[in-house]
Amino acid sequence: MVTKEAVSKWLDAMTDIYLENQKYLTELDSAIGDGDHGNNMARGFKKVREKLPELQEKDIGGLLKGVGMTLMSTVGGASGPLYGTFYMRAGGAVDGKEELDLADVVALFDAGLGGVVSRGRAELGDKTMIDALTPAVEALKAAQEAGQSVEEALQAAAAAAEQGMKDTAPLQARKGRASYLGERSIGHQDPGSTSTYFMMKTASENLT
């Protein structure tokens, strides 16, 4: 079972990884966007870290919804409402819970993905965070069907996200700022899919 402490550890690890990779994400965004994705994620998760003590008072659903609200009102840009919606929906899927089993974990990420799709209306292959998130959720579902552990499932999801992220490089962007570059977006990895991979990677290392 995944405890609330594990979820907090995950959020903490995510803050670290976004701060460590602020420059890297921003560089990816400079190549095909406006060079702020790293700053956006760092600004958002610094605020999450600041609020964590207070948010931890709630159950896991409330905690994640609090994260969503925080990102929504500090990140801005495209990724702010998208990740904001992700965590709000993810929290909604595990409302009232103090612990999560694999079914809860799957529901959490699946609901988050649904939120991102309904807000951003991107399709698979548009070269967005969806391209990392969708295979990750599929991997979680496959692992669940195969009767694997939470740990195994999240490891498979992180690997799928990483592959999805890498697979964005050859794509031509059709959503977000990168779409304005037309063919010039080809050959660059999408920054949002990269921040999503970091989310899945830290999940696999902490949600145990």
Partner: protein, 357 residues
């Protein structure tokens, strides 16, 4: 990348403080969350007009807050869309009961954040509508992109819609006018240099002394093509041709259905320009290009328009929608009719645009 700033994290806040200190007769600033609002808001009986977007485009939008233009402007971090709580709090502050019209530049971030804000305002019983500005003719295909960006027409729309709001238009009529101005306007921009966001150690893109970038946005995004540097006349010809020869443009936008409380998809088609039309010609600096060079561009643009049978009936020349210190210029042409001219000429009193009254 030298700038007149203090700590990078304080840039937006301190610029807002300076604005409030300089223009306290016209506007005030809310600091948590950030929004600039008309000193006398809410104006009784008037629909409130709100806009917003990333900082770095000044005077747009904060400099357009005041009588005859915006009731509130919501600045995000530099080149980053504002967050929904800003537009939501601003709406609550400036709504007189007649509702709020949000003018939203078509960037994924702005659209998503303004949509969330509209949902929140609606939840509070505020009549609300979002109208998209998507006039950047450098973006060709709406199917394979996030659609045309909102650029120069934003300034023209804020002025005209602001004038009509002052004159008592209700929310639906105002939304119709805003949609029309947007559909009548098209823009093209070029850059001679890149812009660098505060704290960055290099510009977002770099251009050699021999090249310029054609079809740029206002966020330091690289444009569609990089070309060998040309004369002002040649560059102006390229820009004006791109606007006048632009074909019909169709896309699907989302507007708010206040009855159902949900987003409604609408297909809109902008007709191409046609000889004989009256137009407003707006030549804009991206920030680092001085007004003297804009006059060289204006000269050629006006000559081409005349040659092609258009009547330039109004104009605007200066740095109004900028991209930090980027060198470059944009041209916006907006077809004008009686209603549009009436509210273009209406008095306006803001830090950035001021006449009449």
């Amino acid at each position: 990348m030298k700038k007149l700033i203090n700590a990078v994290d304080d840039v937006v806040k301190e610029q807002l403080e300076g604005m409030e200190m300089a223009h306290g007769d016209m506007l005030a600033v809310n600091y948590e969350p950030f929004f600039v609002y008309r000193k006398d808001a809410p104006v009784s009986g008037k629909v409130a007009v709100i806009s917003g977007g990333g900082s770095g485009h000044e005077p747009m939008h904060g400099g357009f807050v005041g009588m005859g233009m915006l009731d509130a402007a919501c600045p995000g971090a530099v080149f980053t869309s504002p967050t929904p709580d800003q537009m939501y709090e601003a709406a609550k502050k400036v709504n007189s009961g007649a509702g709020v019209l949000n003018l939203v530049k078509n960037y994924t971030g702005d659209v998503l954040n303004f949509e969330t804000a509209a949902e929140l305002a609606h939840g509070d019983g505020i009549p609300v509508q979002n109208i998209l500005i998507d006039d950047d003719a450098s973006v060709k295909d709406s199917l394979y992109t996030a659609g045309r960006r909102g650029v120069g027409t934003t300034v023209i729309a804020e002025k005209i819609v602001g004038g009509a709001a002052e004159d008592g238009y209700d929310l639906d009529k105002l939304a119709d006018l805003a949609r029309k101005v947007n559909m009548y306007g098209r823009s093209m921009g070029i850059a001679l240099s890149g812009a660098s966001v505060p704290g960055a150690d290099k510009p977002l893109f770099e251009l050699s002394d021999e090249e310029f970038e054609f079809g740029i946005g206002i966020h330091g995004e690289p444009g569609r093509v990089r070309q060998a540097m040309k004369s002002a006349d040649e560059i102006t010809e390229m820009m004006v041709a791109a606007i006048l020869d632009d074909e019909a443009y169709t896309r699907t936008v989302r507007e708010w259905d206040r009855e159902k409380g949900e987003w409604e998809e609408k297909e809109l088609t902008d007709e191409p320009f046609a000889s004989g039309q009256d137009v407003i010609l707006f030549v804009n600096s991206m920030g680092g290009t001085p007004v003297s060079e804009l006059y060289a561009v204006y000269r050629k643009a006006a000559m081409i328009l005349k040659d092609r049978g258009f009547n330039v009936v109004r104009n605007l020349v200066g740095p109004y929608i900028t991209s930090l210190e980027m060198q470059g210029a944009s041209i916006t042409i907006v077809r004008a009719d009686e209603e549009i001219l009436k509210y273009w000429d209406a008095p306006v009193k803001t830090p950035g645009l001021r006449w009449g009254g």
